[in-house]
């Protein structure tokens, strides 16, 4: 979907928004996560050709952005984070307008506008002026204009901002399905849970640098530890495991995490529980969250 090679962007004033970023983003639904200022929106704008990189190259859908920014944009849909909708037009006119600006014939643009507004749940409100829309409805209008021309790749910047929990869940479900329709998604967000719920790949940026990149499942399996739940004395069990050469830490009186350095560790857990006369309630492979990965990684 996107390939960056030593991509760097330094804003006037010296702020280094992206720093030597090299990454290949596969097709599918990919989360671009990072704190505010991590460089997410900058990367999207570079992908759109709206900013020239200070160094390095970026390709989208196999097209070098530097040599053909207009050609790249013909194959992209973009949903910005900020307010960007003209307020004195109806949602139907607005979405059709951006369909025409993507090169669709007027009649096809209106037909597509109707379809995508139906898709995002604005079918009955489509003739109302955008000025009267709630924040959630405006988010959905922004998504509709991004999809109206059936792009190969859609860049979504914080698409769940302003949505209530139900709207957010439904929006993420919809985003998660777009790859199945042949539309690759790059979802920029600071809400790691959004990525964990809807994306099959993750790019994690921090201070303009790449911190992690890979399949979501693979990243979440990186902990290599098990969570052990006993009836009592978790601290005593952790100490017993330490004496057997295992790395364990008690989280509370009944729960501890144990690093599985080898298959022998699980046997050691079983034996230590038995030696101490504890009741083993649960032993499960512990998966980290993206939050933990983001906070803990070097």
């Amino acid at each position: 979907m996107l390939r960056a090679e030593r991509l760097t962007l330094v804003y006037p004033g010296g702020v280094r928004a992206l720093d030597d970023l090299t990454v290949e983003v596969p097709h599918g639904t990919v989360g671009l996560v990072g704190a505010n200022g991590a460089g997410k929106t900058t990367l999207l704008r570079l992908a759109l050709g709206q900013l020239p990189p200070s160094a390095g190259t970026i390709e989208v859908a196999g097209i070098p952005v530097a040599t053909d920014p207009v050609g790249v944009r013909a194959r992209l849909g973009y949903m910005p984070e900020h307010e960007c909708l003209p307020l004195d037009v109806s949602a139907a006119d607005l979405v059709a307008t951006f369909g025409e600006l993507a090169g669709l014939p007027p009649r096809a643009a209106r037909q597509r506008a109707s379809e995508v507004l139906d898709l995002v749940g604005l079918d009955e409100e489509r003739f109302r002026p955008v000025a009267g829309f709630s924040t959630g409805m405006r988010q959905r209008t922004k998504l509709a204009q991004a999809l109206v021309a059936d792009p190969e790749v859609v860049l979504l910047d914080e698409p769940t901002a302003g949505l209530d929990p139900m709207g957010r869940a439904e929006m993420l479900a919809l985003v998660g399905r777009l790859a199945g329709f042949g539309v690759s998604v790059l979802l920029a967000t600071h809400l790691l849970d959004d990525v964990q719920r809807s994306c099959d790949h993750v790019l994690m940026l921090d201070g303009g640098r790449l911190r992690h990149a890979g399949a979501t499942e693979a990243l979440l399996d990186r902990t290599g530890s098990v969570r052990v739940e006993v009836d009592r004395d978790a601290a005593e069990l952790a100490a017993a495991l330490a004496r057997r050469g295992c790395e364990a830490s008690a989280l509370d009186d009944a729960v501890l995490d144990v690093v599985v350095a080898s298959d022998d560790v699980l046997d050691a857990v079983r034996d230590a529980v038995d030696d101490l006369g504890l009741a083993l309630h649960a032993l499960s492979s512990r998966r980290t969250s993206l939050d933990e990965l983001f906070v803990d990684a070097p």
Binding site: A74, P80, L104, V120, M137, L147
Partner: protein, 295 residues
């Protein structure tokens, strides 16, 4: 009604129809801007000014033709209260339309940050400037030229010497009028859109356009008067500048009785000033929207 906040996933249909690319996007932006400026698909209030101006601009032509028809068998049959050259001057009133329409087609895009979405499409800053100036120019040209068509056809039909004779006697009008109107159109459209692009507020843009032209006239007037009624200071009179070029088109020289009449190389000066205004306006617009689309 759908429940507020709900997103209904009703499937997605890929689009496999024709795509026009950049050229189609340019034309679409121009067409949508024309539609907006004319108030089409908008409330009746937005339609009043453009269509009202068109009617007002056409009235002199209709009256002239009507008078010519009523007096065609009388000694006053050759009376004509408006000439083609003079009628181009009447089109200066379309500056009022430019002051309203030019801010309307560019200011909301900046105010509501719509440019982000526009430049996420296969368009760049040059396309945007071309489409916006082109849209205003198209309407101004239409509104300035259409009354001439009414006047010409009407005069031709009521001419006592016959339509064909009138046509052959006035063949020069067929190129002089469109050329003069085009010069006026390019001038007002580029300058108007450039001034409007300095602000995100429509009202401010409209007032700025009128103020610029009004102040220019007010400043030039006394300077020319002090110089005895004919002076190069007349080149500062921005609304009159395209009319000097109109005179070059119709008369082959600037109006001898006008404020540039006694100025040496007044015609060349008028052309230079005209080119300067149009170049500065378009240059400013290209700079204003440069980089937005990655060019």
């Amino acid at each position: 009604m759908t429940a507020a906040g709900a997103v209904y996933d009703r499937g997605y249909r890929p689009y496999d129809g024709p795509r026009g690319g950049r050229g189609a996007a340019r034309i679409a932006l121009w067409r949508l801007s024309v539609r907006r400026a004319l108030g089409l698909r908008r409330s009746w209030r937005q339609k009043v000014l453009p269509w009202g101006l068109l009617v007002i601009a056409t009235i002199p032509a209709i009256v002239n033709v009507g008078v010519a028809y009523l007096t065609r068998d009388t000694p006053a049959r050759d009376f004509s209260f408006i000439t083609y050259r003079g009628y181009v001057g009447v089109s200066t009133a379309l500056l009022l339309f430019v002051a309203v329409a030019a801010p309307d087609v560019v200011c909301p895009d900046r105010r509501h940050r719509v440019l982000t979405l526009v430049f996420a499409r296969p368009l760049d800053g040059r396309d945007y400037v071309l489409a916006k100036v082109g849209a205003i120019a198209t309407i101004v040209f239409g509104f300035a030229f259409l009354p001439h068509v009414v006047l010409f056809l009407g005069q031709m039909l009521v001419a006592t010497e016959g339509a064909l004779a009138y046509l052959t006697d006035h063949l020069d009008v067929l190129w002089r009028v469109p050329l003069a109107v085009a010069l006026l159109t390019i001038y007002f459209a580029s300058a108007g859109v450039a001034v409007a692009a300095t602000t995100a507020r429509r009202v401010v843009g409209g007032v700025a356009i009128l103020a610029l032209f009004l102040v220019a006239t007010i400043v030039a007037g006394p300077l020319v008067a002090v110089a005895g009624g004919s002076s190069a200071w007349a080149l500062l009179d921005l609304p009159a500048l395209p009319l000097h070029l109109r005179d070059l088109v119709f008369l082959g020289q600037v109006d001898p009785d006008g404020p540039l009449g006694g100025v040496r190389a007044g015609g060349a000066g008028a052309i230079a000033a005209y080119v300067l205004v149009v170049t500065v306006s378009l240059g400013f617009l290209l700079l204003r929207y440069r980089g937005a689309g990655g060019e």
